[in-house]
Amino acid sequence: MKRTLPLFLVFTSGMIMLLQHFVPSEESEFIYKYANDWLITVGVYAIMLGIWSLIRVTVAKARYESGERFYAIVTLFGMAIMIFSGITVESQRAGSLFMNIFAYVLIPIQATIFSLLAFYVASAAYRAFRARSVLATLLLITAFVVMLRMIPLGPVSVWNQYLVGWILSVPNLAAKRAIIMGVGLGMIATSMKIILGIERSYLGSD
């Protein structure tokens, strides 16, 4: 019974949303908007669960795991500051403590993590482009040709531009399209499995 009702809800709402896509009427649009509003409402309530989970896990770390105590305290302290500094309407204005922490602490930290990507791209490319097999060698040569496009090489750049254009718009695009088509079919199959109740591993037990 614990599974019957969720499965019934999944089937009905799944079928309604599927058919809604093919019905452009005002009623159909209302259903779509209503379902999306529900999703937002559920999300708002769920954020409380998320915060509770974060606090519980972090407090447990601060109490019982000496190696992680420092990070746990910093997390709780940071969360408390952001909640209390951002609770008032004035906190959204430029120059407030909340906005200053956001602009001068959080954003630079995020930019730092993002910038690590440049180094990781280089190290991953080094491993990926090692000529260990025929296919890997082919990949290495292709990557080398594509990279040359970004370098001014005089007359060589002209024919290289055509070659790279061909690589990107013919074999590369063909492979991408094949993946996208497979993804589309996989998405529909997964949706059907869920709508028809065949795939139910995400549901709780009976």
Binding site: S25, A46, L49, F114, A128, V183, T190, I198
Partner: protein, 413 residues
Amino acid sequence: MNRLKLILLILMLALWSGIFIGRVSAQEASPPDSASAVKPAPPINVTVVDNPNDNGHFLLIKWDPSPDEKRSTDKVIGYEIYRSDKKDGKYKKIGITAVGIYEYKDGSDIEMYGENPNPRYISIGSIYYYKLRSITESGATSDFTSPLGAAPKENWFHTGKTSYFIAILLYFAIVLYYIKVAKSGKKLYIRPLGGIEAIDNAIGRATEMGRPILFVLGTGTASDIATIAGYTILARVARKTAEYQIPVLVPVNDPVMMSVAQETVRTAYIEAGRPDLYDEKNIPFVTAMQFPYVAAVTGMMIREKTATNFYMGLFYAESLLLAETGTMTGAIQISGTDQTAQLPFFIAATDFTLIGEELYAASAYLSGEPLLMGPLKAQDFMKAILIILIISGVISLSFGWNIIADIFKVNIT
């Protein structure tokens, strides 16, 4: 002397009034170029119809160009569209188009902007009348066309999506057929996937090393289909980890995802007969932001020394940051995503990658349940149909036959 002054005054007044009248008449006689220009012909063959495939708040006005678009001087450069809710009522200009555009979609489904009515709003079933006129380079305008009216209608099926509605119905039928075949007990052959076969080995390695497994569901939302596919794989992986008694860590970036992931893992542990091993704290919500999430997960990899890392779901720029950190910690890594832009990063940095559709097939492979094999077989069958259609489309277009391309034309505007 006074008489002379009076005469002079009369003369001056006459002269002044003459100049004034002359100016006025000159203005009337030689207005700007627009009035002196030859009046252009209005647009022809105007039609007003209900705009197809919409919610009933739009009308479509179409016309053929004015013959004076091609005259040598003072050409027609555009068209003005006027609307009224009564045939003989007051018409209001609602739009203008340049030469080359011979249709205008009028209407709006928003009735009010705050407390002010939206002038573009059109209500379902009411008749609206339209008149058009041409406008030239000098600003001269033609006569109006005769008023034409139409009422917008609500549409109950989007005819522009017919071909893919049929394709979905066909796919549904094939899936149901293969489910029936699978239920009958017939063994269905499915091609082996390297990434799937590696999952068991990766879990075994973590067991031997006595270290936890990390399962990352990506940075999508709970309603993304790739995330849902991630849950189904998580369920199979969690069941095995429960059997082998090793923890599975699932840090998530969305509270809804956290609830679903917790329920998925809990169910898997119950099914494996080890509910005592389930620990909710292993599936925490860490943050909703992308790069702080990366920091939290990579920190977890380094501190917990995870033996195996799974990345299954929707990934963006964090894919390589996570996978490269995993490589540095020496973990076996299996990834799967439907994001074509992230696939090269995963292929370069992880040991096995489930490419696109393989992510959706993984759950069926791992469970081995015949019912789940049905849709998988249907997926392969549909792919074969697509390949045949693409090849026949290429051949037919090469010979100049548009028949296949026309059948699959989709108009979703």
